[in-house]
């Protein structure tokens, strides 16, 4: 028998380490570039539709980014990027699109209903549930407080 502590030390020694500096730089660069692409899309939309309100521009911007993330995922490029960039590709909204499209593609063998439609929300489900619940609580509280 080995002690629990000893075992944990052994595991942490032998577990695959993600090299700290390289992954941080990759996440910073890729995350920054994705945000700049979003800003660029927003600026282009502003140039084309001059009367559009700031809020609508932001909504269109995230719609386009989600679409781009989905297309890149469908082409198999986003997962390659994710392998390299980690957090840099997960945290932007394109990563949310990836988390919807990727399992939908993965499980389409299991049929349309319980494959694509159900498995689509494997990662996005918790995000939507937490988001909706929190927004309800915030709305509920602000209704009584404000």
């Amino acid at each position: 028998m080995i002690e629990r502590k000893e075992y944990q030390d052994y595991v942490s020694q032998n577990a695959p380490k993600s090299p700290m500096l390289r992954t941080l730089v990759a996440a910073f660069l890729v995350g920054g570039i994705i945000c700049c692409v979003g800003e660029g899309i927003g600026d282009i939309i502003k140039l084309i539709f001059k009367e559009m309100s700031e809020k609508d521009v932001a909504t269109w911007e995230s719609c386009v980014m989600i679409f781009l993330g989905s297309v890149l995922t469908a082409l198999g490029l986003y997962d390659k990027l994710g392998h390299y960039a980690g957090g840099g590709s997960i945290i932007p909204i394109t990563g949310f699109a990836n988390s919807v499209v990727s399992p939908a593609m993965e499980y389409n063998r299991e049929g349309v209903f319980f494959g694509i439609c159900a498995k689509m929300f494997v990662i996005a489900g918790p995000i939507i549930v937490f988001g909706v619940t929190v927004s309800f609580l915030i709305g509920f509280i602000s209704y009584f407080v404000v």
């Binding site: 941080l24 945000c35 995230s62 297309v71 997962d79 389409n108 694509i116 988001g131 709305g139 602000s142």
Partner: protein, 123 residues
Amino acid sequence: MEIFLTYLKVFAVGGFVCMLGQILINKTKISSARILVLYLLIGALLEVCGAFEPLKKFAGSGVTIPIMGFGSNLAKGAMEGAAKSGMLGAISGGLSAVAAGLTVAIVCGFVFGLIARSRSKKF
């Protein structure tokens, strides 16, 4: 020159936000769903505190493109709904604010799920 500075701010803040997430991933081996939920909650919290608006003014897409923007939209929609149309607004406001993005994500997921094949060889 001004446009360069804007993009530099977007790049620096967006990159920094993603780098913080990467530190979490490296240190705790947290799964990506948890990271996304965590950032969503941070975004909602910042919005409630009123800290998100100045951040957005400073860095634009650097804070709205990370999933924090999604959380802040949910919170903002719920608060605006509550102020505008009472309890029903508080209930429906959050989802209405993010409905466009969510719809695009779900439709894209369905369509690409039908036509594209996964390239990762897991089988």
